[in-house]
């Protein structure tokens, strides 16, 4: 009836801990090693997901819980992924022209700095 599991069922927490440390190291390596940006993103996020799964499964004992965990976590996951996904077409991308004055200014200033090598330029 109860989910009190007998001791031998217990995972070796130290092993999980070790795995988590290794994952962390992998993420840091991904930053140190020069990787294409896309590859890096996919890599570190997958590593993070693995870590999260480890923590949830063993540290949070989800592996040993019953069906309710799906009822709780499935909708949460869907919503948590769905929200950013639904925001992407509007915020992550732009259907209409964005006005970003600082972007224009920045480009202009950079260009000017490159052209004049830091000498005075008194254009508005």
């Amino acid at each position: 009836m109860h989910n009190e599991h007998s001791p031998h069922e217990h995972p070796k927490y130290a092993v999980i801990f070790g795995a988590l440390c290794v994952f962390t190291l992998i993420s840091i390596m991904a930053d140190v090693v020069e990787l294409p940006w896309g590859v890096k993103v996919v890599a570190v996020l997958s590593v993070a997901t693995c870590k999260a799964l480890c923590v949830m499964a063993w540290f949070m004992h989800l592996k040993f819980e019953r069906g309710w965990k799906y009822v709780l976590l499935a909708p949460t996951t869907i919503l948590a992924l769905g929200l950013p996904l639904a925001l992407t077409p509007d915020i992550g991308e732009h259907y209409y022209t964005q006005e970003v004055p600082q972007l224009d200014d920045f480009a202009e200033h950079q260009a000017r700095a490159a052209a004049h090598h830091g000498s005075a330029a008194a254009v508005d």
């Binding site: 009836m1 109860h2 989910n3 001791p7 927490y13 130290a14 999980i16 801990f17 988590l20 440390c21 962390t24 993420s27 840091i28 991904a30 930053d31 140190v32 890096k40 993103v41 570190v44 996020l45 993070a48 999260a52 923590v55 949830m56 063993w58 540290f59 949070m60 819980e65 019953r66 309710w68 709780l72 976590l73 949460t76 919503l79 948590a80 929200l83 950013p84 925001l87 992407t88 915020i91 992550g92 991308e93 732009h94 964005q98 970003v100 600082q102 972007l103 200014d105 920045f106 202009e108 200033h109 000017r112 700095a113 090598h117 830091g118 000498s119 005075a120 330029a121 008194a122 508005d124």
Partner: protein, 322 residues
């Protein structure tokens, strides 16, 4: 309820619902809401970043240190590990051991906050604060001007207050309103032989002159950012009064810096708040003379703590690496 049912036959011996304690169920439901809470933050960060045609990623600019983040990740994982072993020890009724592990968790949480605080300090030191960041040369120059004006005015104010006798101080004009009057007062004070700090004022005339040069240059818009940078460095380098400009930040425009800093502080800030709440929970536990009977409490605090860890597991790559 102690009362026996009046009905003739036995009560169906069914406990309805899930076979977990209410408190644990509640904690899990609460964690569900917490996931949505952080989803809003993390999702915001992701989409805003996607939607910005640029994002500061250079660690020299953002002062984001992978090493610090990495160590903090490790610290949190370790503290999470201590929570599970504490829970295990509780299950085995080894309360002493459990307490020891919990103390470790608690200490590690402190370490985490310490490192986090150190990182914040680095950002504050470089004025990487949302709303403060110049995003182009124009704003950077304006910021230098603004900050050095305040620095000079503050210094004037302080010196004037020191120099003039307390009675005279009452006559002091509002410092920022009336810099010229202040200067006159200062000159007067400097000429008095009995003022100890008189030497402080030596060379201030020069300072005003040089600062004016910079100011007029910026206002006339005929200094490039590079010029401003050099001049500012020159001002700072002065042996006598360079320190006045110490608080003026180097002009480094960061494109999309404000939104970057907004996201950074929002996410790490709320995460840190959760760390503190978790520490409170552990503190309640550690305060108990005996941990007997606190098994569920520990389990639920542990769940919470692992969740805090989980959030960080995602924040780390998203903020520090990507």
């Amino acid at each position: 309820m102690s009362h026996s049912p009046s009905q003739g036959h036995a009560v169906p011996p069914i406990k309805m619902g899930l076979a977990i304690p209410n408190s644990k169920l509640c904690m899990w439901l609460f964690l569900g809401t917490e996931i949505m809470f952080f989803t809003a933050f993390i999702g915001t960060y992701i989409v805003l970043r996607m939607g910005s045609k640029g994002w500061p990623t250079d660690p020299d600019v953002t002062h984001i240190r992978v090493a610090a983040g990495g160590i903090n990740t490790f610290v949190l994982i370790l503290s999470s590990y201590f929570v599970v072993v504490a829970h295990e020890a509780m299950g085995a009724h080894d309360f002493g051991k459990a307490r020891k592990f919990l103390q470790w968790t608690f200490a590690l949480a402190f370490v985490f906050l310490g490192i986090k605080g150190f990182e914040y300090y680095g950002k504050i030191d470089h004025d990487i604060l949302p709303g403060h960041i110049a995003e182009n040369d124009q704003q950077a120059k304006a910021k230098v001007l603004r900050e050095s004006e305040t620095a000079v005015a503050n210094r004037l104010e302080r010196l004037a207050a020191k120099a003039v006798s307390s009675k005279a101080a009452e006559k002091l004009p509002e410092p920022k309103d009336d810099a010229t009057k202040l200067k006159a007062l200062l000159a007067e004070a400097a000429s008095k032989p009995d003022v100890k700090e008189a030497e402080d004022y030596r060379g201030f005339g020069e300072m005003f002159k040089q600062f004016d040069l910079l100011k007029q240059g910026i206002l006339r818009e005929d200094l490039s950012l590079h010029d401003v940078e050099t001049q500012l460095a020159g001002l700072k380098a002065n042996e006598q009064w360079g320190y006045v400009f110490k608080s003026v930040h180097e002009p480094h425009p960061i494109l999309y810096g404000n939104i970057f800093a907004s996201c950074y502080f929002l996410m790490t800030g709320f995460h840190a708040l959760h760390v503190i709440i978790g520490m409170l929970l552990f503190w309640i536990l550690l305060k108990q003379a005996s941990l007997e009977g606190w098994h569920d409490f520990l389990e639920n605090s542990g769940l919470y703590w692992h969740f805090v860890d989980l959030v960080w597991i995602f924040l780390f790559p998203l903020l520090y690496i990507v």
